[in-house]
Amino acid sequence: MPGRVFEDDPNIPADERLLRRIPRTWVDWDEHGNAVISSAAFKDEELSISLESVMARDGRPPEDAIRNYPGYGLASITAAHARSLKQAVAPDPLPEEPAHGVVYGQKKRGGIGGKLRDGALWVVRPVELELS
């Protein structure tokens, strides 16, 4: 729902892992076979993520975020990393995903999307697949 504004929630600790699903179309495999994420994965002003602590509270492992998305990867950044790039981190629970949250702020200019990506770590790597 673009157009909303989110304030940073200080109750979300700096080391909170923010989980983001990564479709294969945002992944490139380098010459060493490493799965490299495109900055495009982190460019939404209102970037949807799942808060790991909320999932854990409900007894859900991180991998549950991609349970219904076969072939997708799952990456994480920390709340501290997002905040270091002038992003607000806020909960935004949805009926279908109580752990849903948002990394809010301008990301398309100034290489912000790429810098968010630079701090991302794989939780679950996607599997390489030929498209055509």
Partner: protein, 185 residues
């Protein structure tokens, strides 16, 4: 298996490689042969086509050129563009819609005029907003050209070694973009 749907893409009014960039390709690929061409045998534009497959659909790309060998970037680039057209609704799992065909055609025609015969192919990446970006990550350089549905296209450059970074709007800074692409060979 369902029958393949076929759609047609045209580039630069059927003129990819027959634009200003084509002169460079012609020189590069046929300088030897041209010695044998008399003044009465001028190169002639011919219509060409190529078919690409993506997610069970086929797309035909048509253009005109002088029949020269295609640069190495041609197939991966066109495949990347075609793959954008076959993305399904919610492809990013966060509600993304289709990529805007107008943005794709604009990007196709802009990049066609920028790449040289030996340029490396950029990666074609969809944006959740309905736009796309072209990316290179090589020679210590990150280069991204962003085509969004709203707003002017621009490119972002970062030298990973020196940390230098800058952002420039298009088409105003096309010459600078061309020179950066030239460093990626």
């Amino acid at each position: 298996m369902p029958a393949l749907g076929t759609a047609e893409l045209t580039v630069q009014d059927r003129g990819i490689l027959a634009t200003s960039a084509s002169a460079a390709y012609l020189d590069y690929f046929s300088s030897g042969e041209r010695l044998l061409v008399s003044v009465f045998q001028q190169p002639v534009l011919i219509r060409r086509q190529r078919k690409y497959y993506s997610r069970g659909q086929s797309y035909q790309v048509e253009w005109q050129d002088y029949g020269q060998p295609l640069p190495a970037w041609f197939d991966p680039l066109m495949q990347g563009f075609v793959d954008l057209f076959t993305l399904v609704h919610n492809w990013d799992s966060y509600g993304a819609g289709p990529i805007d065909p107008k943005v794709v055609h604009y990007a196709m025609n802009l990049i066609n005029g920028l790449l040289g015969p030996t340029s490396p192919a950029p990666r074609v990446v969809p944006l959740s907003s309905g736009g796309l970006q072209l990316e290179w990550h090589r020679q210590g350089i990150d280069l991204e050209i962003v085509f969004d549905r709203d707003g002017q296209p621009f490119f972002y450059y970062r030298n990973r070694v020196s940390g230098e970074e800058s952002e420039h709007t298009l088409p105003q800074d096309t010459a600078l973009l061309r020179s950066i692409i030239g460093k990626l060979d």
